[in-house]
Symmetry: C2
Subunit: 115 residues, 2 copies
């Protein structure tokens, strides 16, 4: 498998299955390329809320604005250049703020096979 | 394993073993936490060059400035918010530019066990 380069302009954002918030994901590498990890970008509209169970190890790097993650009664907020690592098995509430957000993500294994 | 938040100020950068360029890595989650992926930050001094063999799937998200990766005679350059995915098995040359660079990385499996 070759070295690949991605940028947000490559992303074709789609609403994740099973949720109706304005939270969109765009895989740029996943099971189709044959590697072990999924790589992509996430886009959050303003003030969105998503309760979800984390079924794969999911690392989110915030690129623009902020995302908050509530888990076990604690809320962690990340801004540009900050990372939230959501290990498999956590129940989380993801929240964007008034400005929305742009993130990059890496999951192991492939989230779209696990959900 | 709990949800974790990281920022560059958490990073304790160390020169990667077996190289003497001003290129430093700081794992913030790795085999010690028990998850399948390593998460960390990379810092590149100005105009550094590192030839290396990629022994794990390695996803680099550029946070500040630019990094170029040469592989198979082709050079890919990424700036802030852009991603370079280096699958296992590639021989690459990493290069920073005059401004140095800051990156986030996710590897599967743990790079420090594989090297």
């Amino acid at each position: 498998m070759k070295v690949l380069r991605f940028e947000p302009a490559d992303a074709r954002f789609e609403r994740s299955p099973g949720q109706d918030a304005d939270i969109f994901a765009a895989n740029l590498a996943d099971q189709q390329q044959g590697g072990p990890v999924t790589v992509g970008y996430g886009r959050y509209g303003p003030n969105q809320v998503l309760k979800t169970n984390i079924v794969v190890d999911d690392v989110m790097v915030v690129l623009e604005e902020r995302v908050s993650v509530e888990a076990d009664g604690e809320t962690l907020t990340a801004g540009p250049g900050e990372i939230i690592y959501m290990p498999k098995g956590n129940a989380v509430v993801l929240r964007s703020h008034a400005e929305g957000a742009l993130t990059a993500y890496v999951t192991y294994p492939h989230w779209s096979e696990a959900e």
